[in-house]
Point group: C2
Chain length 209, copies 2
Amino acid sequence: MSARPAPLVLLACCTVVDGALAVLVQPGSGRRSALPSAPVPTRGSIEDAAAELAKRLTGRVPAWSVQAGASVDAGLTITVAAVVPSGTAAQAGAAWLPMEQLAAALAADGVAAVRAAVSAMQDRLDREPVAFRLLPPTFTLTELQERYELLLERRLHKASFRRALLAAHLVEPTEHWRSEGRGRPAQLFRFSPRRRRGVQRSVRFEHLG
Amino acid sequence: MSARPAPLVLLACCTVVDGALAVLVQPGSGRRSALPSAPVPTRGSIEDAAAELAKRLTGRVPAWSVQAGASVDAGLTITVAAVVPSGTAAQAGAAWLPMEQLAAALAADGVAAVRAAVSAMQDRLDREPVAFRLLPPTFTLTELQERYELLLERRLHKASFRRALLAAHLVEPTEHWRSEGRGRPAQLFRFSPRRRRGVQRSVRFEHLG
DNA sequence: TCAATAGTGTCTGTTAGACATTATGGA
DNA sequence: TCCATAATGTCTAACAGACACTATTGA
């Protein structure tokens, strides 16, 4: 009987590069790239192991992470989705791979893991500050909306986005404005959630079926 | 160096007993109960292993299941949430434990696993037919609403629930009605999802922060 | 006839999305 | 001055929640 291979933590660490979602990869076998991985620790949490891995390859602990599922391929693999702010540099041989080049650069199970990671992030998008963690501490509302659009993979309505955002008391304006090329400068905001009032709305059946 | 213990699949199989959510348990150590578990298979999916376990203890494969997270306690444990229709009998020494008795009957990690399972089911509630899988093939709309209320842990508005449900084309009426004690008989429906038109609505920030 | 539950019609406040307009900088 | 982008006000259709009402059975 062969020994069972040690379970692995597979890291799908995402950021935004040139306005597109990208995932952290390392050189793999052949010309392929591969997601970074590490053995599941015998003590300590899976997220911490993923965080350590991310720190080694980007210089910083992810601003947010979530488990994205376990699967049995060649051994047991647990995928962790993580996000770091745009502008974070890849180091130690790692690189940022834009999502569009996913299928060309990764093996099938790597692609599946990244898709699971994106899906897990999408699921948490309205409960946890995922989009904010793709940004530096201060940001414009247009940047924030772009992050939401990247994660949701669809366009949002600007006025509605801002109305909902302000009504939710998730951001507060700073004193600073940023001029970006031509148009009117944008005000910088910071993430600053106030305690929500629990206005539970109805069930949604829209995506079911 | 000690051998790494084999990773386990932990099953949180839920149903409805006497109008309350209940989870499948087995006799554990001492007077405690414990969630059923099995080794993670070296081939085949984690969900299938959980399904096999559920079949052994309830006589049927779960109507729906989802992974609810992995954690490192004494070894690596992957929790799978599953649902079976109300009326399904526990067998082979297993029993249905009402959620209210959770803390008294299970160890802390078991309680945490069940909470993670319920949370995972709640997350999928508006995307997958979780509530329907807690019911037999035909059911009344009141029963369906009760399942949603159990999973969401809050009351829903009857008229709104039905309006949204009918608008989503998720159920179709059958020819049959069921008289339940006093009042007017209820029409029986079956789950019959029509292809949705993708009316993507805005982001929700309500639960964020 | 009464009680209890199923199922529906109507009203109203809220809000998402569309549209238009103002504001403010750079070219 | 023109253009591009930010930010905001107004209108409307859709919808959630409230309420009341009808329908249909058993006691």
